[in-house]
C-alpha cells in the first residue's frame, strides 16, 4: 500500500493538476487493495466458513469502497472551492487533519478499552 501511495505521489509533479480528477478512483483502488490484502491474511488459520459468509463480506467490501470513493470525491470538490489562500486556511487544514487523527486515536482507544 505504501508503495502504491509513493508511486501515485511520484506522478504528482509530472502530471500536475490532471491527477486530481482521478484521485477518488485512486483512493478507492488503494482501499480495495488494503481490504483484499487483509482479507487474504484473515484466511490464516484455515477456517471452515459457513456458506454465504464470503458473499456478505464481499458486499460489505463493495459498500466500503464506494463510501471511500465518495469521501475522496468530497475532498476533491472541497478543493475546488475558491478560498483565499493564507495562514488562516493553513491553520484550518492543520486543525482539521489533527482533529481527524485525534478522533481516530480516540476511537481506537475506546475500542481497546471496551473489554
Amino acid at each position: 500500500m505504501l508503495l502504491l501511495v509513493a508511486g501515485y505521489l511520484a506522478w504528482l509533479p509530472v502530471a500536475g493538476g490532471a491527477l486530481l480528477a482521478w484521485s477518488p478512483l485512486a483512493g478507492a483502488g488503494l482501499l480495495s487493495v488494503g481490504e483484499l490484502s487483509f482479507w487474504s491474511l484473515r484466511a490464516w488459520p484455515p477456517t471452515l466458513d459457513e456458506p454465504g459468509l464470503h458473499a456478505r463480506a464481499a458486499a460489505r467490501l463493495a459498500l466500503v469502497v464506494a463510501a471511500g470513493a465518495g469521501s475522496a470525491a468530497l475532498v476533491v470538490a472541497a478543493s475546488q472551492l475558491q478560498l483565499r489562500p493564507g495562514l488562516h486556511l493553513l491553520a484550518m487544514g492543520v486543525v482539521s487533519a489533527s482533529g481527524l487523527l485525534a478522533l481516530a486515536a480516540g476511537l481506537a482507544w475506546r475500542a481497546r478499552g471496551d473489554g
Binding site: V5, S23, L30, P45, A67, G93, A104, L107, R112
Partner: protein, 425 residues
C-alpha cells in the same frame, strides 16, 4: 473478551496521517483525497467496533467411547451485538483430532441470534480427555478490532482402549474354592472326568462306575475335576513410561491389561489390580460387570508419576493379594523397585508371570561406535535380567503391537510356566 486493534487499523492510520501531512506540506489536495477513503473507513470501522457480548456454551453428545470412535462437540453461540465473522476453534488435547480439518469454524452472528456449531472429533488415543475449551475470535464489521478469548467448560470424556479379544489367557496354577470356568487340579464334584478309585463309604451312588465295578467285583467310583475360579492380580508397573512416536510403554501395558482383565472376568475369575508406581493404587479382586467397569475406569486413570521413594511389596494391602493368586505383571522391566517387588512376590510363593512391554522398542540406538557398544551392553544386561527372572520361575514374554498378537505371547508365557511346573514336579 480481550479487544485488540488489528494491523489494518495501524496501517490505515499511518497512510491517512501521511496523506494529510503531505497535503498540508505541499499545499495540494491529491494526497488528502487519496487518503480520505482509508480515513473514513477507519473512523466508521472504529465507531462500529464494540464488545460483542458473546455467550458460548459447549457440550458433547457422549462422554464414554472406544478408541477410534467419534463424538460431536456441540457449541452454542449467542451475541448481544452483530459479529460479522466469528471464528470458533476447539482446544484439543493430545489424542483427539478433528474428523474434518480444519477444526476452526467461521460464522456470522446477528444480535440476539443463537447458533449451534457441531464439530466432529475422533478419539485416537484412550485416556481421560478434557474437552470443552474453545478459542473464540470475533471480528468487527470492518475488521479493525478483534475480540479474543480462550475458555469454556471442562467436559471429561473417557475413551476406553480398543482391546484384543482373547480366547485363552494364562491359566493360574491354583484355583480358588468358588465355582468358575477353570478345571481344578484337585478331584471333586465336577463335569470333567479325572480318575477312578475304590468306593468309600459316603460316596454318592451316581459316582459309581458300574461297568468297571461289574468286572472287578469291587465298587469303583469316578472322580471329576471341579470347575472353580481363580484369583488374578494385574500388577501394572507405572514407575516409568517411555514414549516414542505417539506410543508409550504405559499405553501398551494398559491396553494389554484391559484385554486380559476382560478375558478373566468373562471366565468368572476374581480380578484385582495394582498400579505400582510413584503413586500406589489398587483395586481388590472382584467379579462381575460392575467390577469390570471399575477395572476399566481404574486403568484409564493410570499414569506414570515421578517418585524417588523406595516402595516394596509391604505397602500393598494383603487383601489385594490373596493367597494362590496369579500375579501377572505388565512392565517395561526398567525400574529397580518394580523388579524387586516382583522378585519379592515370587519368593513369597506367589505365582508370578511378566508380560514385558519391551523398552528396546522405545529406545533408539546411537549411530556411532560408543553408541553401538552401549546399546549391545544394555541389551545384554536386559537379557541377563530376563534369564535371572526365568531362573526364579517367573515367565517373561515380550509383547509389542508390531509383533505377534497378545494371545500368542500369552501362549508362549503359558508354555514356559508349564515347563517350569513339569521340571519341578
Amino acid at each position: 473478551m480481550t479487544p485488540q486493534p488489528t494491523g489494518k487499523a495501524s496501517l490505515y492510520a499511518l497512510v491517512a496521517a501521511l496523506g494529510l501531512v503531505l497535503a498540508l506540506a505541499i499545499g495540494r489536495p491529491e494526497p488528502a483525497a487519496l487518503s480520505a477513503p482509508l480515513l473514513v473507513s477507519l473512523l466508521v470501522g472504529l465507531a462500529l467496533a464494540e464488545e460483542p457480548g458473546l455467550v458460548v456454551e459447549a457440550s458433547v453428545d457422549r462422554d464414554r467411547l472406544l478408541e477410534g470412535e467419534t463424538l460431536t462437540l456441540v457449541v452454542q453461540l449467542a451475541a448481544r451485538r452483530q459479529v460479522s465473522w466469528l471464528q470458533v476453534a476447539p482446544v484439543l488435547p493430545e489424542g483427539v483430532a478433528p474428523l474434518v480439518s480444519p477444526a476452526t469454524r467461521g460464522l456470522g452472528l446477528e444480535p440476539g441470534q443463537r447458533r449451534e456449531v457441531r464439530i466432529q472429533l475422533r478419539c485416537e488415543r484412550w485416556g481421560v480427555h478434557r474437552l470443552g475449551r474453545l478459542a473464540v475470535r470475533a471480528h468487527d464489521p470492518l475488521g479493525f478490532v478483534l475480540h479474543e478469548a480462550v475458555g469454556g467448560p471442562t467436559l471429561e470424556v473417557r475413551v476406553h482402549p480398543a482391546t484384543e479379544s482373547l480366547r485363552r489367557a494364562l491359566a493360574p496354577v491354583q484355583t480358588q474354592a468358588r465355582a468358575g470356568d477353570r478345571r481344578s487340579r484337585l478331584a471333586g464334584d465336577g463335569l470333567e472326568f479325572a480318575n477312578v478309585r475304590i468306593y468309600e463309604p459316603g460316596d454318592p451312588l451316581r459316582w459309581v462306575n458300574w461297568r468297571l465295578s461289574s468286572r472287578s467285583e469291587r465298587l469303583h467310583v469316578n472322580q471329576f475335576h471341579p470347575d472353580q475360579n481363580a484369583d488374578v492380580v494385574l500388577f501394572l508397573d507405572s514407575f516409568v513410561d517411555l514414549h516414542l512416536d505417539r506410543q508409550s510403554t504405559l499405553q501398551l501395558a494398559v491396553r494389554a491389561a484391559l484385554s486380559i482383565a476382560r478375558h478373566h472376568l468373562g471366565h468368572r475369575d476374581r480380578l484385582g489390580l495394582i498400579s505400582f508406581g510413584g503413586t500406589l493404587r489398587w483395586l481388590p479382586p472382584g467379579v462381575g460387570l460392575a467390577h469390570a467397569q471399575a477395572v476399566a475406569e481404574a486403568l484409564l486413570d493410570t499414569e506414570a508419576s515421578l517418585s524417588y521413594a523406595w516402595k516394596g511389596v509391604e505397602v500393598i494391602p494383603s487383601r489385594v493379594l490373596p493367597a494362590k493368586a496369579l500375579v501377572l505383571a505388565l512392565s517395561p522391566l526398567i525400574d529397580e523397585r518394580a523388579l524387586a517387588a516382583l522378585v519379592d512376590l515370587r519368593r513369597r510363593g506367589f505365582d508370578v508371570a511378566i508380560l514385558e512391554v519391551p523398552a528396546e522398542a522405545f529406545v533408539t540406538e546411537r549411530d556411532d561406535a560408543v553408541g553401538r557398544i552401549a546399546w549391545r551392553l544394555w541389551r545384554l544386561r536386559r537379557e541377563a535380567l530376563r534369564f535371572r527372572l526365568r531362573q526364579l520361575g517367573v515367565g517373561v514374554a515380550p509383547w509389542f503391537p508390531a509383533g505377534p498378537p497378545l494371545a500368542a505371547v500369552l501362549e508362549e508365557l503359558q508354555a514356559f510356566r508349564l515347563r517350569v511346573r513339569l521340571r519341578s514336579a
